[in-house]
């Protein structure tokens, strides 16, 4: 079930109404049933994997809870990790590695076809697997007591607002909230729905409209001039932001209705002044996951220079692989790792250049330059993320400055113009959120202004929304 579907528009109010109608002690059952129904709308059999994952982690955590020493807990943690990564590998990565090995063998004239599995990647497997893994590690570390209520734990794994595309929640944040009694809070529900409305606008009006141009250009890059490739690349940068942050906003907003505060997943990432800042603002739940459960255990930055470089590259290589079983994602991850290393290596030089140009005296200009460079580096990396193949990505990069005609067809030009218009509200919100959240900003305005904004968003969704089916990009992960 998609958030931007009639089914969800019917499903969500019914679940929300029932939630406040049933006594607190039965609410977890309602949410669990609703979550599994939500998930099973894609393919009922997908739920089996989630059930397996739930039981394994529930049992492993209880076993870990019985032992005081980390040494004794370790075997259960290893069991949990092997099981979770095993499922993830089998369903998401096996065919990729098998295909890659076959290609390598063919390259050396060795005719051997490695076996492949005829399975579809279950929706959201990367998200809920990482969520359960974080729970297992937290219990192992003693940060979290094992959850003894199987139903509540199953709900933690499957909570429908954030099940298929995050935010990847931590047990320390989500589990206590699932146990807590939530009263009907008008302001909270209202704010949640407003956030969900904004998320729908970003997805349906901005991201899906940009997708039309991006898909047209990226599916046939050879037919387009350099300028069109550049515009499509920038558009993709905005599309993926609106698509994913739109989903996160709907997830956070709907969870808020049930009294659950999910973690913030995006914080105006394209206004970052460096790549490291970008990763503190983009897909925050994943980047902090990698930081807490991989980067820091590897030694973080309190190690020798070479180990630091190694740690950074491992984290970004795996981050790329997490996004998809494809070389383009791996290259995208490596590229971001390289950006970070490059910024470490050139820190002194950049500082000298800044001093020489006396940029410190013009902080606004200095900031704009940094934001501009960061945004362009991120957009360049997005080419690998979006391109249909590695060769397409290379073609696009090598042809970015070939020709300056805007578009080959009138339709594309019209679409580009419309895209520029629908981006305006996003820019306004980003500007407003420099000082305070847009919802708080609006709350201080007269009632007619607030209502006008909400009505404009509703009618923009109805009249400017894209009809064609364009799935959430992060669903594939």
């Amino acid at each position: 079930m998609l958030f931007n579907s009639i089914e969800f528009l019917l499903f969500f109010p019914v679940v929300a109404a029932l939630y406040f109608a049933v006594p607190h002690r039965y609410r977890w059952i309602l949410l669990l049933v609703a979550s599994y129904f939500f998930y099973m709308c894609w393919k009922p059999e997908y739920a089996i994997l989630m059930i397996i994952s739930t039981f394994i982690d529930y049992w492993a955590a209880l076993q870990m809870g019985r032992h005081k020493t980390k040494k004794k807990r370790k075997k259960y943690l290893i069991f949990s990790l092997v099981a979770n990564f095993g499922l993830l590998f089998s369903f998401k990565y096996f065919n990729f590695f098998s295909g890659s090995l076959t290609s390598i063998f063919q390259h050396f004239d060795l005719a051997y076809n490695f076996p492949t599995l005829k399975v579809l990647v279950p929706v959201g497997i990367s998200f809920y697997t990482f969520q359960t893994i974080s729970y297992g590690i937290d219990v192992y570390r003693g940060v979290k007591e094992p959850e003894r209520h199987l139903g509540i734990f199953a709900l933690y794994v499957s909570f429908f607002p954030q099940l298929v595309a995050g935010p990847i929640e931590r047990s320390t944040n989500l589990l206590p909230q699932l146990r807590q009694k939530h009263e009907f809070d008008y302001t909270r529900i209202s704010n949640g729905l407003k956030l969900a409305l904004w998320g729908l606008f970003k997805k349906i009006v901005i991201a899906d409209r940009l997708a039309i141009v991006v898909n047209q250009v990226y599916n046939n890059p050879a037919e387009h001039s350099g300028m069109t490739l550049i515009i499509a690349t920038y558009f993709f940068a905005i599309q993926i932001l609106c698509d994913f942050s739109g989903y996160s906003d709907i997830a956070i907003g709907t969870a808020k209705v049930f009294g659950v505060d999910l973690m913030m997943n995006f914080n105006r990432p394209y206004l970052s002044k460096s790549i490291s800042e970008f990763w503190q603002r983009w897909h925050i739940s994943l980047s902090t996951w990698f930081k807490d459960y991989l980067y820091i255990p590897l030694g973080g930055n309190r190690v020798s220079a070479w180990k630091l470089y190694r740690n950074i590259m491992i984290v970004f290589l795996l981050s790329g692989l997490w996004h998809g079983a494809n070389w383009t994602f791996i290259v995208w991850g490596i590229l971001h790792g390289f950006y970070l290393l490059f910024s470490l290596w050139t820190r002194k030089i950049r500082s000298s250049v800044s001093d020489f140009l006396q940029l410190d005296q013009f902080p606004m200009i200095h900031k704009c330059i940094k934001v501009f460079i960061t945004f362009n580096l991120v957009s360049l990396a997005w080419i690998f993320f979006r391109a249909n193949s590695f060769s397409d990505a290379v073609y696009i990069i090598t042809h970015l400055f070939n020709g300056f005609s805007i578009a080959p067809s009138g339709i594309l030009t019209k679409q580009m113009f419309m895209c520029c218009i629908v981006i305006v509200p996003l820019v306004i919100v980003d500007m407003v959120e420099r000082k305070q959240y847009a919802i708080d900003f609006l709350a201080a305005k007269p009632v007619w202004v607030r209502q006008l904004v909400y009505l404009v968003l509703i009618f923009a969704i109805i009249h400017l929304g894209i009809i064609e089916k364009i799935p959430f990009i992060y669903f594939q992960f």
Partner: protein, 332 residues
């Protein structure tokens, strides 16, 4: 029950009431504002739905439902009149119009009939062709041939539905219910015997003997059950018009059975006739006789390149139009 009641009518009651009151006011405002906005950007309903409304206004007497057979003309035909034009010329005393498009079938004709009745449109004659291939996995399960948009519009069309049709489209009301993956993995039967999956048949290239046999099995050889959704739709059409002044003419579309016999032997014709008899017996029970033209035309009147289908050359169209004309005039 008592607990439930107590829970709802607790101190939160006023807040909940306030919330619902505001939600209803918002809904009313949206509906009111949408009225002028929907005039600026009116709902684009599918062609078939719009045409039925136009035909009602024009008081068209004969409605011809059909798939792509209706509009097909062979490139070598001297006369380029399609089936509809031919029938129209043969029946100058009647106004004849079609609701036809590639892959339309009984599962769509039934909601069309219901829609016409709902809108108080009662043509004198409705022609309902039954293409035996439309029951095959190739056609029946094809995601492109489900016509969710048409079915939704026919089922829900009303003032409010049209007012918010664009919103419904944005929220994927018309999303395909069958995925390509499901289609490719749906079974194909030869009679009642499992004969592989759709994916084993859809990409056949080159009309060699082996591929031709496979295509014929894919298109025509699965046994039809009287529980098939398209037969159920035919039955419902018959029931809908049982005691009305509208005449329903059911006919089974001619198909190239001689090519079928050439590749699959006599069992091809036997299966086709068995399937036709299932349809005929179901409709006979409802009091309708069916014109069975499934095996009435020779191979040379079919217009096809590559694979067999039901498209007709001039001679075939002429034969079919005459048959329909006779039935229409005979019953009137």
């Amino acid at each position: 029950m008592k607990k439930f009641h107590l829970y709802i009518s607790s101190s939160k009651d006023t807040k909940i009431k306030k919330y619902f009151k505001k939600s209803i006011i918002l809904l009313i405002v949206v509906i009111i504002l949408q009225i002028p906005l929907s005039r600026i950007q009116p709902a684009k309903m599918p062609w078939s739905v719009g045409s039925l409304i136009v035909y009602k206004k024009l008081n068209i007497e004969i409605i011809y439902f059909c798939d792509s057979v209706l509009g097909h003309v062979d490139k070598d035909d001297q006369c380029k009149d399609n089936l509809l034009v031919m029938l129209g010329k043969m029946l100058p005393q009647y106004s004849v119009k079609a609701v036809a498009s590639g892959a339309y079938g009984p599962d769509l004709y039934y909601p069309m009939c219901k829609y016409m009745i709902k809108n108080n449109y009662h043509p004198k004659v409705i022609i309902v062709p039954v293409n035996l291939r439309s029951f095959s996995s190739e056609w029946d399960k094809n995601p492109n041939y489900q016509f969710e948009e048409e079915k939704n519009c026919l089922a829900y069309d009303s003032f409010l539905f049209r007012l918010f049709y664009r919103a419904f489209q944005v929220f994927k009301l018309n999303e395909r219910k069958v995925s390509w993956n499901d289609y490719e993995n749906s079974p194909v039967y030869d009679g009642n015997v499992f004969a592989g999956y759709v994916k084993d048949y859809i990409n056949l290239k080159g009309a060699n003997d082996e591929n031709m046999k496979k295509k014929l099995i894919f298109f025509y050889m699965s046994s039809i059950s009287d529980k098939h959704r398209k037969i159920v739709s035919l039955k419902k059409i018959a029931q809908l018009y049982k005691n009305s002044n509208t005449k329903i003419i059911f006919y089974i579309t001619p198909l190239d059975y001689q090519t079928g016999e050439k590749y699959l032997g006599s069992r091809f014709k036997e299966t086709v006739q068995e399937n036709a008899s299932v349809i005929k017996s179901v409709l006979q029970k409802e009091g309708y006789s069916v014109i069975d033209m499934s095996v009435s035309l020779d191979s040379d009147v079919f217009s096809w390149t590559g694979w067999p289908n039901e498209h007709l050359k001039y001679e075939g169209r002429s034969f079919l139009a005459k048959m329909l004309k006779e039935r229409i005039t005979a019953e009137n």
